[in-house]
């Protein structure tokens, strides 16, 4: 009976999620989309922490990053963002 490497499969899946979401962060046109994809990347890093048996750090990752840092970034995006696209500039 062949042994299925579940650990390896889970790692590869979540590594794909991490790298994909990180690429989305730097490649997305809209800053708000970048912020949402940053949340996905941070949560998948928390999953990696769980697989490395660092459960407390995973909890801290979710609390500090997703609960604090991402909320702050969202706050800044809401205050700072202007509608993307050069033709949607509003005349003063």
């Amino acid at each position: 009976m062949a042994v299925v490497p579940y650990q390896l499969l889970a790692f590869l899946l979540f590594a794909l999620v991490t790298v994909g979401a990180s690429l989305g962060v730097v490649l997305a046109r809209d800053v708000w989309h970048s912020a949402l994809l940053l949340g996905v990347a941070l949560l998948s890093v928390a999953v990696h922490y769980v697989m490395l048996s660092a459960e407390f750090l995973a909890a801290m990752q979710v609390l500090v990053y997703v609960g604090g840092v991402l909320i702050l970034i969202t706050f800044a995006v809401m205050l700072v963002r202007r509608e993307s696209g050069p033709e949607t500039e509003v005349a003063p």
Binding site: F11, H48, L52, V69
Partner: protein, 104 residues
């Protein structure tokens, strides 16, 4: 041990990939918010490295350092948000190439 089926090098490759993506984001975008998010990505890559080494060497020091890094990242984002809001108020944009007051 079942957990040992993922080699340590895989985590190092993942960490290097995320770090390189963060560097790419800093070098290519002009939005100050994108700078902040790319720095978060790079800090997370370093954290993955620290936790992976802490696991494979059976040493808790890496996890403690990761806690310090998380506190540092939170403080850095708080300061960065303040700077970005002041940038927006003064230049009406968060494009870092617009802010040239300190250059001559």
């Amino acid at each position: 041990m079942v957990l040992g089926t993922v080699p340590a090098e895989y985590y190092l490759v993942l960490s290097a990939a995320v770090f390189c993506i963060g560097v790419f984001g800093i070098l290519t975008r002009e939005n100050a918010l994108m700078f902040l998010m790319s720095v978060e990505l790079m800090l997370n890559a370093a954290n993955i490295n620290l936790v992976a080494f802490a696991f494979y060497w059976g040493n808790i020091t890496g996890q403690v350092f990761t806690l310090f890094t998380m506190a540092l990242a939170a403080a850095e984002v708080a300061i960065g948000i303040g700077i970005i809001l002041v940038l927006y108020r003064n230049f009406d944009d968060v494009d870092v190439t617009e802010a040239t007051t300190l250059r001559w």
